[in-house]
Symmetry: C2
Subunit: 332 residues, 2 copies
Amino acid sequence: MKSSQPTMKDVAKEAGVALGTVSKVFNGIAVGESYRVKVEAAAQKLGYQVNQYARGMRASKTYTVALILPGVDHPFFSALAQHICSALLQRDYRMLLYVTASRPDVEQQCIQMVQQNRVDGIIGLTYNALEVDESLPFVSIDRFFSPNVPCVTSDNYGGGRMAAEKLLELGCRHPVFLRTGSANSSETDKRGNGFKALCQSRKIPFDALELDDGQDFGLFREFFLSHRTHDGKLDIDGIFCSTDLLACQILTLLNEMGVRIPEDVQVIGFDGIRHYGTGTPYCSTIIQPVKKIAQTCVDFLLTKDRSNIPALICLPVTYAAGGTTLEPVGGD
Amino acid sequence: MKSSQPTMKDVAKEAGVALGTVSKVFNGIAVGESYRVKVEAAAQKLGYQVNQYARGMRASKTYTVALILPGVDHPFFSALAQHICSALLQRDYRMLLYVTASRPDVEQQCIQMVQQNRVDGIIGLTYNALEVDESLPFVSIDRFFSPNVPCVTSDNYGGGRMAAEKLLELGCRHPVFLRTGSANSSETDKRGNGFKALCQSRKIPFDALELDDGQDFGLFREFFLSHRTHDGKLDIDGIFCSTDLLACQILTLLNEMGVRIPEDVQVIGFDGIRHYGTGTPYCSTIIQPVKKIAQTCVDFLLTKDRSNIPALICLPVTYAAGGTTLEPVGGD
DNA sequence: CCTCCTTTGTGAAACATTTCATGTGCCGCC
DNA sequence: GGCGGCACATGAAATGTTTCACAAAGGAGG
């Protein structure tokens, strides 16, 4: 009795057929009925499982895709990971997950490991520039690298416009844009651009405070303090935060300061994160189509013909009221 | 010019040495200084990357571990995934992630795919029984299969006791245990056992409502309604929920019913989930040592000597106040 | 009945690596 | 100087697939 897993050779011997015949059976290539039955019986008996690595080595194809994420503890990222995983499994691909913690060295290390593993492609949401082998299919999320690397993203610009439009529609006269995170000319920066553009086109004066990585969060508190009027209220009445997470933090801050939400100030975030379990939103928000993003990434990555893939795929966002805006009752 | 990636053969030719010599260099096997320099220079020049799959095929070792989870959208699961990923990367292993949605067929399919991929081991949090090849190193989380399969889990029994003890200590006289999820004789069921055991040993009468998968959540509402006294209050004053998620849902429910938390009823959950970003807990809870669990899984999975691994590894939990209990002010 | 064509099973080669038995060269010792 | 021994580079074999050129078999047509 052999201790290791059975191979095609074993199956061939057991079935009394040639190696190539066994291969054909497992690849769905036409083969005589009697042969197929014999092979299937033998495989069943031996408990044969095809060895994907050997198959991949021969075909220079591994049926494996690497997903590189800053982390998986953020609701948006985990939703992304889950949907991408499902989409890949459906197409009989496996997913290698790499978590980088946004550190450039880890990101680069991941790229290298990915190349060593000879994956069939990479889906990456990386914040830092990286040298990626142009020959390896790569789909980027939320970050534009070059025309050769398709970038899948939400309509961040449109979402920013939508947020501004919504705030104005709901009666705001002094809107503000708040942002944290690295200013790396990524797609997500367009959220602010869209917001500002709409305000400008409507000739509405707006304010903005954009913090980069490492800058003190306390600056937000100072910002609000500087906007207090003599009666203790704020002279701003609408806030658009670049992410739901930031919105959540800002809400806590405003709460501490005794500002009433949404009566005094209305807040809109971006992402579409919901409280786990209850399903209720953290706040009014612009929802990203996570599942659609995942599907799109997988589709483009596995497309055979990589010649006419658009460089930038922009998916539509939607607005959802979530208790931090003054929606008209019964409306919407 | 060859279009494909360079191989060891290319490096050997470029360096003017034999194939075996190149192999030795990349495996850290002693080799003449001059040879090593030549090989390294050639590899650098060609941009050679070792092909892990070919290496794995030869060695019957893939340096890949599969993680099977019901989902990655639950904070506990995603934390687990992230920590396991990091722990594996540190040891130069990669992680294949499979998401099963708790469906038995998907779980079984994953096991099969995992076997086809010839991974070096599996870490699984699966709710349904599965036929796992005994020869493949397998570490289970929260579910005991057999003495041959090490099961890593928190001290669920102790956590249940701790929750009961805490509620009683904080003045509760009529504690209740609530549970949802499948009753599959998994380790997590011990949370209720511990809770009940402590109440019994203290001779405190307690109540319990345990819902299995598929049962109507509305039963909880009925339960509370049946516990209303003539003055509209509840005759229960402490609740231990089997998970933070359930606690969250129960809190919403009690809120709707006009019950004040924690004045009227104190609530303790289980898991240690926090609001993303703000870091504040959802509720008072028994915290599972997620990182420790992840580390332990990886350690046991990669241990060479699999002969004396304990069948059950039980890690200590801690209690954290989170606003849904009446902690003495300034205390703790 | 023979030939030719078609259909289909066969097994060797190739994929990129590791390992191992072999061979080469160098040094020291008698 | 010759010989034994040691260190170390060498390249063939092996790992489990897929593919492809080839051969064998079977059927049809003359």
